[in-house]
Amino acid sequence: MSVNRELLDTVFEPTKPYVVGREKVREFASAVFATAPIHHDVDAAIAAGYSDVVAPPTFPIVIQEKALHQILSHPGAGINFSRVVHGDQKFEYQRPLVAGDEVVATLRVTKIQSLGGHTMLTSESTITTTAGEPVVVATSTLVIRGEEG
């Protein structure tokens, strides 16, 4: 099985709207040891100029994951999930996500590269509010390890 190169430049449908929840932000922040008050305390977030608790910088992975699932589950993609390793990850933010944001992610495959029997697949998930405001672009490179033997 090899990665289908026709995926290059494919733009997938926007994901279903995701509402960033206050308790989810707190739960995620605790899980990544992010103790800053703006992630947990609404009053602290408001005092810092936000409308509600602020999601930690890597929170958008939760939304990117929903977009990536579209490729990994795509029957024609030729990707064996058990051989996938996360290579690189990048986020470029217009602003942090805050509780109450309702967002969608639109994924585009930007690069497919072979390297020593492995395939590297880079995709860009553009995360915008349902009103169309750009919030963050998440770029991920997955390494699909070659089959042995």
Binding site: F28, S30, A31, F33, P56, H86, Y93, P96
Partner: protein
């Protein structure tokens, strides 16, 4: 926000922190993130795909490494870019824990007048292994 960098030299460590990762931390992150890949909680599955055993989610390491930055930054700015390369797995034993440390230093002041700067993250496990490569955070004024 330029005061954040006042008196700081390139290479100065701005903040550092260390956390202990246990299997409980991994289960907690799995639930919070929705990433239930069994290589993060089952040794048999991890070993079946050629790993030494259960390892931390790369995104957990990426997430904990930037937490000292946001705590240090407070409301003085926000993280406008964050990137890493996952270079080495962080194996987490069943019956103890592993310390992961992040050290954040000033790499470059981008726009002195506006106060944006690039910070370099050095992220290591207790045996000195660097687990994230090319780890950079850009902080910008809001």
């Amino acid at each position: 926000m330029s005061t954040l960098w006042a008196g700081r030299d390139i290479g100065d460590v701005l903040v550092e922190d260390s956390v202990e990762l246990s299997r409980e931390s991994l289960v907690r992150y799995a639930g919070a993130s929705g990433d239930f890949n069994p290589i993060h909680y089952r040794d048999d599955v991890a070993k079946s795909v050629g790993l030494e055993g259960v390892l931390a989610h790369g995104m957990l390491t990426m997430g904990l490494a930037v937490a000292p930055v946001t705590a240090w930054l407070g409301d003085r700015g926000f993280v406008s870019s964050y990137q890493v390369r996952f270079t080495k797995p962080v194996y987490v034993p069943a019956e103890s824990s592993v310390a992961v440390s992040a050290s954040v230093s000033l790499a470059k002041v981008n726009e002195p007048t506006e106060g944006s700067a690039t910070l370099a993250l050095s992220v290591t496990t207790q045996d000195g292994t660097t687990v994230l490569g090319k780890a950079f955070v850009v902080v910008s004024p809001r």
